[in-house]
């Protein structure tokens, strides 16, 4: 009778990675080299940039006058393509024991559902955020963190914590990041869809950039919470560990929203044509990219630690 069972299939285990035990088959699957990961990730980002460039160019050259259903369909496409590409990008980062695709899709849908059923109604209909948040800089920043940031990050946290978190498939700390980014991308897809629908005749060329950045940001901030969730699952952590992760992600999310909100402010200001309306989006994109870098670094560190302890 073996002392340990495989954490994936419950069969007798023969080797371990960190505190987890695996049978021969799953250990081989968890530790096999994936040399193509970096190349695929690079190709995905390149694909994303090409997609944005293509849509921007088409909009610039053809000036498509889409209305009604065609516009909505174009919006759905523009919202889903970046979310899908980012999801594959994050999925590829999970080198040890990649998660079942059905679970990832399920958490993505749960994130989208929570955004649609709870997040957007609470932010827009209960807090009426757009009516007061842009009053002044301090209010925008505080409101973005306390209301928008915490609601969004808590719902993404809940999408993971109360679904796959207790399942056997959640078998390494990195899984927290992978599932949380899926929830974040689900949330971002609904936000982007809402943006297209609410703006009816939105310029598709410029909005596709916004959608790609929003998707990246929502996934990255959720990734922070996911990292804290993952560590809490397998290590003994203090009670303040999870709230700290959520607060950190909310601050990042709020900072991103505040910077992006500068577009709105410049839109109604009287400072004239010298104002660059893209500055806010650019700064917000920088915050999202820095967060992405942090998430990737944390994932790699987790994997290195797990493999070193093998």
């Amino acid at each position: 009778m073996p002392d340990h069972a495989c954490c994936v299939c419950s069969q007798p285990a023969s080797s371990s990675i960190g505190s987890r035990w695996f049978c021969g088959k799953h250990h081989q699957s968890a530790t096999r080299e994936r040399p193509h990961t970096w190349r695929l990730s690079f190709l995905l980002v390149l694909g994303l940039v090409t997609f944005v460039g293509l849509v921007y160019l088409l909009d610039l050259l053809l000036h498509p006058a889409l209305t009604g259903t065609p516009l909505i369909l174009a919006g759905v496409l523009l919202a889903l393509v970046p979310a899908f590409l980012w999801m594959v990008f994050f999925y590829l980062q999970d080198r040890i024991e990649p998660e079942p695709k059905s679970y990832i899709l399920g958490v993505f849908l749960l994130g989208a559902l929570l955004a649609s059923a709870v997040g957007i109604p609470v932010v827009e209909d209960l807090f009426h955020v757009s009516k007061w948040i842009y009053t002044d800089t301090a209010t925008t920043l505080l409101g973005s963190i306390l209301v928008v940031g915490f609601i969004q990050e808590f719902l993404k946290y809940a999408a993971v914590r109360y679904s796959v978190y207790s399942s056997a498939e959640f078998d390494e700390a990195t899984d927290g990041v992978i599932y949380a980014t899926a929830a974040g991308l689900g949330y971002a897809t609904v936000l982007n869809l809402q943006f297209v629908i609410a703006n009816g005749g939105v310029a598709l060329g410029s909005s596709v950039i916004r959608m790609v950045v929003v998707a990246l940001a929502q996934a990255s901030f959720a990734g922070i919470t996911g990292y804290f969730l993952g560590r809490a699952r397998f290590e003994k952590k203090s009670w303040w560990w999870l709230p700290s992760g959520l607060a950190l992600a909310s601050v990042g999310n709020g900072l991103f929203n505040w910077l992006r909100g500068r577009i709105v402010q410049t839109g109604i200001s009287l400072t004239g044509p010298s104002t660059n309306p893209w500055l806010g989006l650019l700064l917000a994109a920088v915050v999202a990219l820095v967060t992405l870098g942090l998430i990737l670094w944390l994932i790699r560190r987790n994997i290195r630690t797990a493999l070193a302890a093998k």
Binding site: C7, S19, R20, F127, F150, I151, L242, S250
Partner: protein, 213 residues
């Protein structure tokens, strides 16, 4: 050991505390956000003109008063039609009649010692001429923070006259509160998009509460 018994701390007491702490921290943040929202919405600046004093919402756009108006402020952050408050002084006159459409320059005059009914007729006619698709919904005598007043509830359609403007017109709900003060009538007006009317009403009541004449 079964498939669900992955090495985990998620069932420990500390983890349950952490779980609860996440919910509590979120609730605390939302409570702070709600207080921030209230504090922003209740920020005001004192207004005083022609013997009228009120606390006008801070950060709203002030338009140049038209006709008998002494104050006209609009929320610039509202989506669609911007919620608007205005104060209007309707002076009395001994020898001029009030509702004569042929004499628009004399249109803001009501008889001295006018009754609520007369001022209401004057305002209704004024709105019917100035506002698209004006419809009177209700009118009644009320008491507003201890002051006798008359309330006119109405609706109209606000539309950008620019033919190339490609947005749907807004349905605007309006409320006029008429206060008689000697030979003047003071009219406090509230206009809001019909979707935001109920939600924005509380803020207007605060404005109304601050009104002194």
């Amino acid at each position: 050991m079964n498939a669900t018994s992955v090495p985990s701390k998620s069932n420990s007491t500390a983890f349950r505390f952490a779980d609860l702490a996440v919910v509590l921290v979120t609730l605390a943040a939302l409570l702070a956000g709600w207080l921030l929202k209230n504090s922003v919405e209740n920020r005001s600046i004192p207004f005083e003109s022609s013997g009228l004093r009120a606390q006008s919402p801070r950060g709203w756009l002030t338009s140049a008063p038209v006709g008998g108006e002494v104050l006209h402020v609009t929320n610039p952050f509202a989506s669609g039609f911007g919620t608007t408050y205005s104060l209007q002084l309707v002076p009395g006159s001994l020898d001029k009649t009030y509702a004569d459409p042929q004499k628009p320059d004399e249109f803001t005059l009501v008889p001295r010692d006018a009754t609520f009914g007369e001022v209401t007729n004057f305002l209704t006619l004024q709105h019917a001429q100035a506002l698209s698709d004006f419809r009177l919904l209700d009118q009644k005598q009320v008491t507003v923070f201890g002051q006798p007043a008359y309330e006119i509830d109405y609706v109209y359609v606000e539309s950008n006259p620019d033919l190339t403007h490609n947005q749907l017109p807004n349905i605007v709900r309006g409320l006029d509160y008429i206060f008689l003060n000697g030979d003047h009538a003071i009219v406090a007006t509230y206009w809001a998009d019909e979707k935001a009317f109920e939600a924005d009403m509380g803020r207007f009541l605060q404005f109304l509460k601050s009104l002194e004449f």
